[in-house]
Symmetry: C2
Subunit: 118 residues, 2 copies
Amino acid sequence: MTVAFDVLAEPSRRHILDLLLAAERPVADLVAATAMSQPAVSKHLRVLREAGLVSVRTDAQRRIYRVRVEPLRTIDEWLRPYRQLWSSRLDALEHRLDTMDSSEPGGDAPAASTRAAE
Amino acid sequence: MTVAFDVLAEPSRRHILDLLLAAERPVADLVAATAMSQPAVSKHLRVLREAGLVSVRTDAQRRIYRVRVEPLRTIDEWLRPYRQLWSSRLDALEHRLDTMDSSEPGGDAPAASTRAAE
DNA sequence: GACGCATATGCCTTGACGGTTATATGCCTG
DNA sequence: CAGGCATATAACCGTCAAGGCATATGCGTC
């Protein structure tokens, strides 16, 4: 799980995965779709492969990549105890009562790109 | 979501979250539990805070931290389309048919660090 | 078997991140 | 108001990973 999280922390990687979710694709396809250099894509694919998040099929010179979801289950598992919170527990309320100091001044934006640190 | 994934890629941070999942805690508690230096913990808490993953309540000199699950929902959302795959679709089978070249020679290990590339 | 395409890999640079130590801030107590 | 906690921040360093370019490898074609 550690692995999966780490691998998916990379936006490019999630992007690739999302592309592959629609359909399996050869590398060239991904290169075109992501506007990254071919080596960069290949590197990401390697990482994804090593994390078990994609599988490869060799078709002549092409390598067709496909999503593998197994590792994602681990993330899902990790998420489970927390999932209970946003269904049963009164999280959204509670935090609104205490925080108030540095987050959401008025709206209810889920804190997307708040980081201003570095 | 980008943020949440990135933040949770850090094992220490997941650890902290897991600790806070059991109960809200002051920083000193986390320092003790994680065996990290106090500044290190504070930094992680800052990151978690900015990602909206924890909230703080000030109790005298203590700062009590608590889990906030809202950002996790976004991860859950992202996960959703994939989740269908491991329930309905025949992912585990499919990959086993094509891959075969570099993964799981015999068992059914979830492909954590199987590659022998380097 | 030489050429060309598709992909992988090596090497290198750069930037971001985690951890450490030292210090600032805030609050409570005497 | 001086001293001491609890926590945050600053400055700094080492590491590591992502991306670029150049090149190797594999395979099909002629």
